[in-house]
Symmetry: D5
Subunit: 96 residues, 10 copies
């Protein structure tokens, strides 16, 4: 099942820059791990914000929650999940 996930990162400007560098590096690695496992399919930046849209493909909402809480930046994330149903005209299912 696919989910469209909207993530806003709420990082106080005065936070320790070293902590930011460490967490940011760990975040990139964990994102790539989820991508290699075929769970995180696409990732886009929202222009002008420390925020993104992500497309996940997982078994259900419980596995999605496990993926999202595995992200090092999770404590600073404000996340909205949109459950997706298959559309008969989706180019992927049409083989287009």
């Amino acid at each position: 099942m696919e989910f469209l996930v909207h993530i806003e990162i709420e990082w106080p400007p005065g936070n320790d820059p070293k902590l930011k560098d460490e967490i940011f590096a760990a975040e990139l690695l964990q994102g790539q791990k989820l991508a290699r496992e075929g769970k995180l399919k696409r990732l886009w930046r929202i222009p002008g914000r420390w925020a993104n849209w992500t497309l996940y493909e997982v078994a259900d909402a419980t596995e999605l929650h496990a993926c999202l809480t595995s992200l090092p930046l999770y404590p600073w994330m404000n996340i909205q999940v949109h459950a997706l149903a298959e559309h008969p005209n989706d180019p992927r299912s049409l083989g287009l």
Copy 2:
């Protein structure tokens, strides 16, 4: 450039069912045409609504507007467009 597009279809319950069938059939064909042209990349239903999320890849907002207004259901659509920026960790750009 990619755009995430949220479409709600506002179709009055009392509308002519024959009109609905005709427009719906034409809508499917036009969606497939945009998919074959490589502009409409993915299409999902929003569960419980006559609504969808669509992923477009086009030159800019002007071409996107031309795609969306080419849809036969356009006069009954309430559309919100989200411009997307590339993310360095996007599985597609990483080749994952």
Copy 3:
């Protein structure tokens, strides 16, 4: 997977009362059919509104969409779906 579903029914006061009776009767039957199939688990009225909260247990959002669009009142419904993840302290999973 469970979903919490919020349904508002938008029925114009001037609609044909006979149509309302017919659709309402069919709605009750279809709701009971979904309940007997183990998909619709609980159903509550929202006081003061022609609206309800429903708890569904289905395979995924695609099956949920099929359930909801099978309801005779679907064309007059404004539906918001909330995907649910399992909680380790849920009385059901604890056997309480």
Copy 4:
């Protein structure tokens, strides 16, 4: 009377991890106590958030308030309560 309760936990990322462990453990115990008393009926996680939906069955809003304020995490909770009315087609009342 049943209530559907939406709880968001607002826990600052910089809070003492030991305090978090202690409160979290106490929270689990108090939730199980309310479940054993037949007041807390179901509990779901909202995917991607430190948040949940809970179904309570209590005498009235005053008893519900007592349940909710008994939770150790209450000072960090943002709670919205939805009063529920019985629906004649609820699978529980139909014995389905």
Copy 5:
């Protein structure tokens, strides 16, 4: 249990004035009946709107729903219900 009820009446300006007179008269009578039964306790107009705040005292949300749907104007009402819990400092409980 007490409930604070916010009611907006959505009456199209072009509706039949005679229908309005009939329904309005029946509405006043039904409101007085609920007041005499001790269920509808207070009623205020919201200035500048065809809307009101009402204070109900009933057994639970199910009885409240029965009261509200007994109102002749119910099909034209947009109603929001606020469940109330007792406050230890309420002048009524203090005998003030």
Copy 6:
């Protein structure tokens, strides 16, 4: 003139518990004083929140503001005021 007042108390979880006890005690006393003066008529808790609905009867908005700012918790309150007009069908004016 009556006013319906919605009060949310925004008290940081980490505040000094002793300060909380002192202010809370003073708050109860001031509320009872306003009740004895016939200005604060009813007071309800909003279940699940440190919040309440209050019914005031005062000369005008200026006197209401004086009442509200006299509350010891005022600096931590987020207050929304709803002006009320008399309704000819109010049980109080009908003597019901």
Copy 7:
């Protein structure tokens, strides 16, 4: 007591132009009557909308409601009332 009143006029584009002319003329007269009575103090257009801000000075919300419902356009108005309290630094009270 003064009130700041926000009025949106919701007039369907297809309504009878003659009705519009008649009601509009009556509206202007009634507005001037309220102004001469010292109740309607100021009136501004909201640019780009068939809407206005109005400043009323009346005894209370009940009289304000009577003023507003006396307007011929009232059935087509969506009105929000803001109760005002006196400010010690108001130029009018300072005689500036």
Copy 8:
């Protein structure tokens, strides 16, 4: 003084297509007239909507209102006006 103006056109799908053609043609002409008078400076489409952002430069809000109500589509427009103040770093004032 400059104003940023957000315009949504609310045109029912079932309206007479001939009326639409006539009004649309008149709208284009009136827009060009305002542009030639130096009042309408820039005009953009909002992708996916029958809506636009417009930049006006006029004496004040009263003249802006006169410009906007001169548009043939005005009765079908939902308009939000944003007043703009000069910024010392504006490329136009810097001659960039």
Copy 9:
């Protein structure tokens, strides 16, 4: 040109009381200065909030911004500006 200005003051309860006294005193003086200059015309308190509605009459939005940023409390203010157009039925322009 007139502007209706909505100001919320966001002053943390724990701030230094001496700073509050100093800034508050300076705020009153600057408000009176703007009033004497004929720019600040009316000032009302919003009951129950540290907030106000203000009526300004200035050349344009640039001068309004200069007035507002001259207020000592400006760094703690959340301000929304409403541009006003003249109304032909305004009592002031009618000499009423």
Copy 10:
């Protein structure tokens, strides 16, 4: 492609004034650099707020994001981006 960008600056009143002066000076310089490169076209203040509307002309959302994150105040900015499509009646494209 053009973008309309809405920027709110969220600067705590208690921040170090020297830091503010340094960042503000750097912000002005970077804004002028973007203007000279032809990317930042117009810049307006929102009256009463530390906020602005900016008009950008860049290749796409990815370049826009690079421009915005190059601003020294970026960590304190809350930014909303509006993608713009060309309008055939835009005075610029008409050569007006």
